[in-house]
């Protein structure tokens, strides 16, 4: 079953992925998937040519979770995947912190890649999160995401 989690503090994306995958094997039995594609977004210390020392990730408590759950449902409907996972950080974050993980499990690699790509692209346009970057001389809202 798809899972969505928001983290208010640092999280280790691959440890979470491994824990989720262990549950997947327990639920479906071993040998049921052949392909897992995961994407992890990490905070860089540069953006649009400026140094960024920290970032605040605002969200819309309630709607954000709901939007992420819908994205998972859509991925399960659109691709032959066994399961999917979305993790996202909120609040104050620092360079090199993980921001997001999406992952999809499937029998074959095509569906796993396509679904993971769809998860992150749809999250980037639909999920209510907003980044505010801390620069040397003040803070600025990120106005739009870079193209995928």
């Amino acid at each position: 079953m798809p899972k969505v989690v928001l983290f208010e503090g640092a999280f280790e994306p691959y440890r979470e992925l491994m824990a989720f995958e262990a549950g997947l094997v327990q639920q479906h039995g071993a040998g049921q998937y052949g392909a897992t594609t995961s994407f992890v977004g990490t905070m860089r210390d540069f953006n649009e040519g400026d140094d960024v020392s920290a970032m605040f990730l605002e969200h819309y408590a309630g709607m954000t979770e709901k939007a992420l759950e819908k994205i998972c449902e859509q991925a399960m409907a659109d691709y032959p995947i066994l399961d999917c996972l979305i993790l996202h950080r909120v609040g104050e974050i620092k360079p090199n912190d993980s921001i997001v993980l999406v992952a999809a499990w499937s029998a074959h690699r095509g569906a796993a890649f396509d679904a993971a790509r769809m998860l992150i692209e749809t999250l980037k346009t639909d999920a209510p999160f907003w980044k505010k970057e801390t620069l040397k001389d003040g803070a600025r809202w990120v106005e739009k995401n870079t193209d995928g």
Binding site: M63, H88, I99, V100, D126, A127, P128, W130, E143, N145
Partner: protein, 77 residues
């Protein structure tokens, strides 16, 4: 009619507050809510809107006790 109105991110900074309790007659749509809370400010072309935490368009109808949210393009991930 009582409507809870929320603003997020840069829009909250521009509007000057994060939430509003709108208590007014003659409110039928999300666009009406915007007019009532934005002090004449035109609706930004890229504004996103939600009623009860689902995305809607400006002509979506609202009813008593709805939660209406306005926010700029999202930048998560």
């Amino acid at each position: 009619m009582s409507i809870k109105v929320l603003f997020f991110a840069s829009l909250r900074d521009e509007i000057g507050r994060g939430d509003d309790e709108l208590d007014a007659a003659n409110i039928n749509t999300v666009a009406d809510v915007w007019s009532a809370v934005s002090e004449g400010k035109a609706m930004p072309s890229n504004l996103l809107m939600a009623v009860n935490q689902d995305y809607v368009n400006a002509d979506a109808t609202v009813k008593d006790n709805d939660e209406v949210a306005f926010f700029p393009p999202v930048t998560g991930g």
